[in-house]
Amino acid sequence: MTVPDVHRTIDAVWRIESPRLIAGLARMVRDVGLAEELAQDALLTALEQWPQSGIPDNPGAWLMATAKHRAIDALRRQKLLQCKHEELGREYAAAQEDAMPDLDAALDDDVGDDLLRLVFAACHPVLTTEARAALTLRLLGGLTTEEIARAFLVAEPTIAQRIVRAKRTLSEKKVAIEVPRGAELAERLSSVLEVIYLIFNEGYTATAGDDWMRPGLCEDALRLGRVLAELMPQEPEVHGLVALMEIQASRSRARVGPTGEPILLLDQNRARWDHLLIQRGLAALKRAEQLPGSERSPYTLQAALAACHARARTAAETDWVHMSALYTTLVQLTRSPVVELNRAVAVSMAFGPAAGLELVDALQGEPLLQHYHLLPSVRGDFLAKLGRIEEACQEFERAASLTRNVREQKFLLERVRVLKSDEISSP
């Protein structure tokens, strides 16, 4: 093997091993930042030694053993220098007595629990959302700083800084590396899911850059979601989020046209949807729906909505009546006017534009939607279908003035043009 080959293999080993390595070390040293440094040290040692010595038969175990020795050194330093953490000292003493069987056990047992604790630490609310996303990708996705920087189109030093600061904050605020219990669990879990979905969405509808999709980030988020689903199989929200991401990702190929223009869901070529991901999404949704509490779980409801599209072989087959009912529940849960606007669209598809218009009219005074171009755009659509052309044109023009997306502006003004010319030509 050439040196670059060895390096690529080490990268791969690192991606596979680093999350549980860091998670196990974090349990030993009770500090996420230190655990990550120790794991990085082991990686550096591998990079130095493996090109000469060859890659060990069990590279994961090699990294574990190396990192563990570093951890013991670190514990010794802590013990000697600070003598503060008595418990750690005892652990160190016990470890020294007989070839460190306890530390072996510490690294090998309950890998899942360790990982879960690390997830909750990396997504702790003391950190900003951006920091949580970077730290999660770094610690649990096994991504390098460079990869994270490239994914978010941010300079590498910025991401490095963000990660360093996040680790420092976790230490300074003495964030316990543990899985929260009881009422706190729900709140903290939603913070974790928010981070994963944010990573997914950054990939799915990229807010920056030339491409409006970065599939790599979607894959990273999906992988994190799938890992979490195995760690917390009893949480409907986790399966709900995985289902939602799988089904959304299934449309990636179909939602961009040949010149990079977005293609709306109902216009997409469904043959280009990824049916493997759809099947996975529907299976995850089923898992979510079998668990208690799923009927009041926003991600599960959103996944159920996405599934209505996924199950329909053609746009005309979409079960809008079922979708209207799901949106009604989702509105009750989220109280979001944007969701209510979506409900209006589903209702209009199911029961006609007049029923939709009634719901949209009730939203007119909503302060959150004052500058939201989709409100007049949707209202205009209903009015056009009802034959109220003049009012429809006014709404589309208003919508065009509210959006900054040039493509969307063009689309809206084109509708106005077509409506007006139809009106003139028809008797």
Partner: protein, 145 residues
Amino acid sequence: MRFMILIKADKDSEAGVMPSEQLLTDMGKYNEELVKAGIMLAGEGLHPSSKGARVKFADGKRTTSDGPFAETKELICGFWIWQVKSKEEAIEWVKRCPNPLNGDSEIEIRQIFEMEDFGAEFTPELREQENRLREQTEELAKQKS
């Protein structure tokens, strides 16, 4: 990126010999690891080729022949679809797999085509280039009129 991981058949698998209980246990554990790591998208074992068939396309005709097929080495007896970051990662995972057959065996790793693999017209650079060209042409048209 996605890979299809192909397990090559051998005489036993072609004869329909079931894997040992030990192998089934080890394989079960391994599959569990793949799921926990979030990389496994799909995976199935295949019946011997005696239960399969082939359709040949030649001279504008389609001819069907039933299994079994002689060239055991070219047959497969199972597959996975994985989502990983690199070919090396796929290789590392395959190295951790228990030997899938009772005797010597081979596993092949093949990359699955993705959207990015198709057509350079998807790259933003070319799109940009095209837009520039269009602008220039429009500019020229204006000057002429």
